[in-house]
Amino acid sequence: MTDDAADVRRVLSGDVEAYAALVDRYYDQCARYAVRMLGNRDDAEDALQATFLRAYRALGRYQERDKFSAWLYRILVNQCRSLAARRSQHERVFVREEAALLNAADEREAGWTGEDEEFVQRVLSELDPLLREAFLLKYIEELSYEEMAALTGVGVSALKMRVKRACDRLRERWELIKHD
């Protein structure tokens, strides 16, 4: 049995604190997706909180033959979509202080020291949400197209097109920004 399945069983049989183990296991990874998707930490935290609460309430419907991470991510992706739809159109750029907290970039990228995170977040935020979602699932979560299809409910060829378009846009953006 996987650790996930064991923890789920523990929770369902009354050990509520066992849920903390599940949260710990997946929080960082989900946080990364949420921040990249939503563009700022506050929204991401809202989405994460909603995701883990929702997952808890739905835990009885989790089936052990599924990958818990995939099951959880379906909830996370949907929460991020709903939250983005609810929030205003104007997206906040990733908070400056966090960019400063992160390590300086590789010396090869010396021109961007300390601001890589901001730049990357900014450029991602400029993508259409559906393109961004596909790009993140493919290149940050590193899922196969089949996995992405199962998770999002979108067809594989549509997803491939979105990923390609996302990469096109990012490349264009880079060309433009580079010459600022």
């Binding site: 996930d4 970039a105 020291t113």
Partner: protein, 207 residues
């Protein structure tokens, strides 16, 4: 679906689910074998590392290493704390612009007993270059038995003299050969260092 009989079938089904590779690279928790206190410590140090802008993966990695090596829990706790504290000291010494590799290399150097002042000297040497390579070489040499002060001084001189990464990286193997032939580690380093061409540090060192 295969026809599997009875309880064995159930166990096999669950085993199948468990054996299927993780959907994501990270997969199930590698720290599962650590005791509760250990996991709490790792979690809190990882949180603190992030809060302080330090790389947190080395903290987690050290815990994973301890579990893999079947180390007793107190040793793992001690090692994880050491990693965290040396990363913090590395950041304090090298400054906020230090790269992740510089920090982990510096932390290792500190753990090897190299004084923070030596690290600060490397950083202050005036190059814009990353000091990861001299730090890694320095830690290596000390681990082979070269006295710390001698190693620090020699590497600093070479670095300030413009010695390249390739020259520095060649030192450990050469020094090891001499040690195997019977030389004292400190002597071996000094002799080998002499073979590296350096120049008096000019005002601006070309990269």
């Amino acid at each position: 679906m295969k026809r599997l009989a009875g309880r064995r079938g159930l166990v096999a089904l669950i085993a199948l689910a468990a054996a299927a590779p993780s959907l994501f690279a990270q997969g199930p928790d590698p720290l599962a074998k650590l005791d509760t206190a250990g996991r709490a410590l790792v979690r809190s140090l990882v949180d603190s590392a992030r809060a302080e802008g330090l790389p947190s993966e080395p903290v987690l990695s050290k815990a994973q290493e301890g579990v893999a090596k079947h180390a007793p829990n107190p040793a793992i706790a001690r090692a994880v704390r050491t990693v965290f504290l040396s990363l913090r000291q590395a950041r304090n010494t090298l400054g906020p612009k230090a790269s992740r590799d510089e920090l982990t290399a510096a932390a290792a150097a500190l753990q090897a007993g190299i004084p923070a002042s030596a690290l600060a000297d490397l950083r202050a040497s005036g190059h814009g270059k990353s000091i990861t390579v001299p730090l890694v070489v320095l830690a290596d040499l000390v681990t082979r038995g070269v006295p710390r002060d001698m190693a620090s001084h020699t590497i600093l001189q070479l670095w300030m003299g413009g010695a390249g990464d390739a020259d520095l990286l060649g030192l450990p193997k050469a020094v090891e050969q001499d040690i195997v032939s019977g030389a004292a580690p400190g002597d071996a380093l000094v002799n080998r260092a002499r073979t590296i061409p350096i120049r008096l540090p000019p005002a601006k060192v070309p990269e």
